[in-house]
C-alpha cells in the first residue's frame, strides 16, 4: 500500500507515530515517579527543624535522602524537558527558531540535572563543609 506520508515528511523524520510514543511514555513514567518524590520532598523540607548549612547538609548526608533527591532532580529535569518541549513546539513558530529553542531547552535541562546531581553527591560524600 502507498504511504500517506509525504516524501518531505519522511525525509524530516516527522509524522510517524512510532516516535511520539516514546515522548508520551517517558512523560507518564516520570510523572508516576514524581508523585511520591515530589510529596516526599515537600514534606521533608517543611519538616526540617531549620535551614542552616549544618542541618541541611546533615539531612542530605543521609543515604536515602541523597538517593531520593538525585531521583527527584533527574525525574524532574526529564519531565520538565518533555513538558517545555511541547510548549516550544506549540508556541515557537518557524522551524529555525523552533530547533534552536529546543536545543537550548535541552542543553539547559542537562546542565540543571548534572549540576543538581553533582551538588547532592558532593554534600552526601562530605565535601561541602
Amino acid at each position: 500500500m502507498r504511504s500517506l506520508r509525504s516524501p518531505l515528511a519522511r525525509v524530516l523524520g516527522s509524522g510517524s507515530a512510532k516516535e511520539g510514543v516514546h515522548h508520551w511514555w517517558a512523560q507518564r513514567l516520570t510523572s508516576v515517579a514524581l508523585v511520591p518524590l515530589g510529596v516526599w520532598f515537600v514534606v521533608s523540607l517543611l519538616s526540617l527543624p531549620a535551614l542552616d548549612h549544618a542541618t541541611v547538609a546533615a539531612w542530605i548526608g543521609h543515604l536515602w535522602t541523597a538517593v531520593f533527591l538525585i531521583l527527584l532532580v533527574l525525574a524532574g529535569a526529564w519531565h520538565s524537558q518533555l513538558g517545555v518541549r511541547v510548549v516550544v513546539e506549540d508556541y515557537v513558530h518557524g522551524s529555525g527558531a523552533k530547533a534552536l529553542t529546543l536545543a537550548l531547552v535541552t542543553f539547559f535541562h542537562v546542565i540543571v540535572a548534572v549540576a543538581g546531581v553533582l551538588a547532592i553527591l558532593r554534600i552526601a560524600l562530605g565535601g561541602a563543609s
Partner: protein, 131 residues
C-alpha cells in the same frame, strides 16, 4: 501563499471553558515548576559550595519577596500534582465521559486549593523556617 490557521489558535477558544482552563493551568503550573527546579538546584549547589557560600545564598533566598515566590511554588505544586493524577487516571481509560470530566475538573480545583492551604499553613506556622 495561503494563510493557514496556526494551532494553538488563542483567538477562537472560549477561555472560560473548564476543559480549557484546567488544561492550560496544568501547562502553566508545569512551567512555573520548571523554574522551581532551577531554584532547587541553585539551593543544592549553594549547600555543596560550603557553609560560607551558603550563608550568602541564604540571605538572597530569605528575601521577603521570595516568600511570595515560595507560596506560588507550593500552589503550583499542589495544582500540578492533583491535575497530573487526573491525567494518569484518564490514561487508564477511566473518567473520560463529559459528565465525569466536568466533575473531576471541579474536584481538581477543590482538592488542589485544600492541599495548598494545608501546605501553606504548615510552611507559615508549624515550621521554624522563618529563622
Amino acid at each position: 501563499m495561503t494563510q493557514r490557521p496556526l494551532s494553538p489558535h488563542l483567538g477562537v477558544y472560549r477561555m472560560y471553558r473548564y476543559t480549557l482552563l484546567t488544561s492550560i493551568l496544568n501547562r502553566a503550573t508545569g512551567l512555573v515548576l520548571s523554574a522551581g527546579l532551577i531554584l532547587l538546584v541553585y539551593w543544592l549547589v549553594a549547600i555543596a559550595s560550603g557553609a560560607e557560600a551558603y550563608r550568602g545564598a541564604r540571605q538572597l533566598l530569605s528575601l521577603g519577596v521570595l516568600k511570595a515566590v515560595y507560596l506560588v511554588l507550593l500552589a503550583t505544586f499542589a495544582y500540578h500534582l492533583v491535575a497530573g493524577l487526573r491525567h494518569l487516571i484518564w490514561d487508564t481509560g477511566h473518567g473520560l465521559e463529559r459528565e465525569q470530566a466536568k466533575r473531576s475538573a471541579a474536584l481538581v480545583v477543590i482538592a488542589s486549593i485544600l492541599l495548598f492551604v494545608g501546605l501553606a499553613w504548615w510552611a507559615l506556622h508549624a515550621g521554624t523556617h522563618t529563622s
